[in-house]
Amino acid sequence: MIHTCWERWRQGHRTISYPEGPMPELPARFRGRPVIERGDPDEAGGPGPEVCPTGAIEIGRDACAIDLGRCLFCGACETTKGPWRIRFTNDPRLAGRRRGDLRAEPGLEARLAEELDARWKRLFGRSLKLRQVSAGGCNACEADANVLTTIGWDLGRFGIQFVASPRHADGLFITGPVTENMRLALRKAWEAVPAPKIVIASGACAISGGPYAGHPETHDGCGRFVPVDLYLPGCPPHPLTVLDGLLRLLGRLEGRDPNPG
C-alpha cells in the first residue's frame, strides 16, 4: 500500500491541460491537415497522383484537391512533382460536420466542425454517452478512441464517455468500412440507441471505406446506413483530432480556440 502511494506520488498528475492550456506538442513528423501550394507547372518526371493509396488526390493543371475523408495521411503525395506541392502541416484539427467539408484545396480555408444546434447542445453539451461500434476497423481507430479514456486525456472531464449498451448511449462512434458481416449488427445497434441520437464516423474506413473502398465484402463506410453528424479524418485519427472534433461538436471550445500555426 505504501509502495502504491509512493508510486502514485512519484508519477504525479499526468492529464493534459488542453483545452484550458495549450495544445500538446505533436511530433515534428506528424501529418495533420495538408496544404496545397503552387509548384512548377513545367516540372515533369516525378510521381503523380497514383502515389495515393486511396485515390484521394485530384491533380490538374489549374486545380488540385485532397479528399480528407479518403486520405490515409501517409504523406506519399509530398513527393509529387508538377504544378502543385502538397505539404502536411502538423495541425490535427480535421473534423467536419459534412462530407463535403473534408476537402483541402489551394487557398481554401478549413471548414472545421460547427457545434450542434441549441436544442441538441442542450441535450448533449454537458453529457454525451457514446457506444463504439467497430464494423471492420483494424483496431487502430478503436485503440486511439480508447486512449482518450486514459488518465493522459481523461475524456470523462468533458462529460463524454464510452458506454457498454447502445440503450445507455446518445449516439454511435463508428469505425471500419462496415463489413457486410457487420451490417446487421450495426443497424441493430443504431436502432437500439434512443432518439435523438448522433453518429460519429471515425477514420478513413468509416468515412469512405479507406483502403477497403470498393471491396464487395465492405460498404465503403457507414454513410449509406446511418446519418453522420461528425466526420473524423485520419488513419487512424490522432486522439487530438478526435478530442477536438468532439469538443467542437459540443461547443466546448468557444473562446479558447488556439490559432492554427
Partner: protein
Amino acid sequence: MSAMSAGPGLPVRNARAFALKDVPRMNLAAFRDWLLTSCADGGRIAAWFVPQGKAGGEMFAALAMDEEALIEVAAAPAVDAFDAITPECPQAQAFEREIWEQRGLEPRGHPWRKPLRFPPSVPGRQAPEVGRGEFYRVEGEEVHEVAVGPIHAGVIEPGHFRFQCHGEEVLHLEISLGYQHRGAERALNVLPAGSARWMAIAETLAGDTSVGHATAACQVLEALAGREAPARAMAIRGIALELERLANHVGDLGALAGDVGYLPTASFCGRLRGDVLNLSAEICGSRFGRALVRPGGTAFDLDEKLCAALLARLGPIERDLAGAVAMLWSSPSVMARFEGAGELSRETCERLGLVGPVARACGVRRDVRHDFPSGIFRFGHIPISTWESGDVFARAYVRALEIERSFAFVRKQLEALPDGRARRVLPPLAAGMGAVSLVEGWRGEICHVGFTGETGELLAYKVVDPSFHNWFGLATALRGQAISDFPLCNKSFNLSYCGHDL
C-alpha cells in the same frame, strides 16, 4: 543450424526466395504423411493453403521446425476432398476449415468443419449468414448457454462467443468470427504487389500490428526481388517492431490490471502505452508505425539528433513502467486473480500449435526472432522469455519480461544505428519464385507467403496472423473456468479479430 532435413519437404530459409519448381510435388498420401510426421516431431504448420487464382490447382504448406531452425515447404494436388489431419493433429483445424471455406475442398472427417469467416460470397455456394449455424451444445437440466457479441461491452472489435455453462463454470466456449472480414487477403492477391494500396492493406491487416505485418510483407517482396533492405533499414524496422511490442504489452498489462480492479497499474500503463506510441510517431509521424516500412527499406530515416531524443525519452518511460509493473506482483489481490486463471498445459499448447507470448507462457521456447531470425535480429539477439505455469499470471509475466528485453534492444539499436541508406530501389520480382516470411509480432508469429508467376507478377499471396493459431487456445483455456474470469482470460490472450478475419 543443423544439417539439411532428412524430411521430404524442401528446406527453405526465412525471407529467402526458392524456385517454385524445386518445391516437391507429393501425392496426397505422402503430403499427409509429411504433415503428420513432422508435426508429431515438433513441427508446426506456419501456413497451409490453396492459392487464389491461377496457382489454385495445388495446395502448399510451410512447416516451421522450431528446434532445427528450419522451414520446409511442399505441395500436393488440390483435389475435391482429402482426409483431414485434424483428428490426429489438432493444430491443423483452422487451416483445413479455411481451405474448405475459401476453395471448397472437403477435409473428410474434420470434427469441427465450420465456417471461419463467413465470406459473403463464395463462388458456386450459398454463403451462410455470419454467426449462424450449429453451435456445440451441452445438454442437461442445469446447463445454460450465454451468448455474447458480435458487439462487445468495450471499445473492441466484434466477434461472437457462446458459453456452455453449469452455474458459473464454463464447460465449453465456442468462438465464431468473420465479422471483420474485409477481403484484405484477397486484395493482396489482386493489387499490384508493393503498390501504395497494397501496402495500406498490409499495414491494416491487424492495425495494431502495422509494423509486424508490413515487415513480413516487405520481406516477401524483397526476397522475391532478390535484394535485401539495407542494414540501416533493418535496424529501424527492428526498433519500430519492438516499440510496437512495447506499446501493446504495456497496454495489455494495464488492461489486465483493470480487469481485476487494480486501478493504479491500469492508469499508469494506459498513459505509458501512449508515451511509447508517441515514440513511433517521432520516427514516422504515425503512432501505429504507418507509412514507415516500405519495399526496399524504410520511408523515414533517423538522424543522430532524433536517436538521442528517443534515447532520452526511453529512460523515464522504462522507470515509470518498472514501478507500475512491480506493483502488480506485490499485490496479493492481483496475484490471487492472475494465478491459476485460464491455465493451459504445455502439451495442449503444443498440440494446438499456439504461438507468441501465449506459447512462451506455457514454457514453450518459440520465438521467430530467435528461431528464424531475419533482418536485424540476425545481428542483435533478444533472449526468449518464458514462464512455465500457462495461466494469466504467466501470460502477464512473459509480457513484463519481454518489455525489459525490448527496451534493451531498442536502446542498443539507437545507440549504434548502421550507416548507409535507409531505402534502396527494389528491382522487379523474379519469375517463378516463392518466399516464406516470418516475423515475431507482439502477438506471435506472423507468416506471409508469396509466389511469382512466369513474368514476375505476384501469383499468390497468403497471410497467417498469429491470432489464426491462438483463438482456439483461448477457447480451450476457458474450459473449467468461471465465466466471470472470461474478460481476464480474454485480455491475457488479447487476440486480433481483423487479423483472423482478414
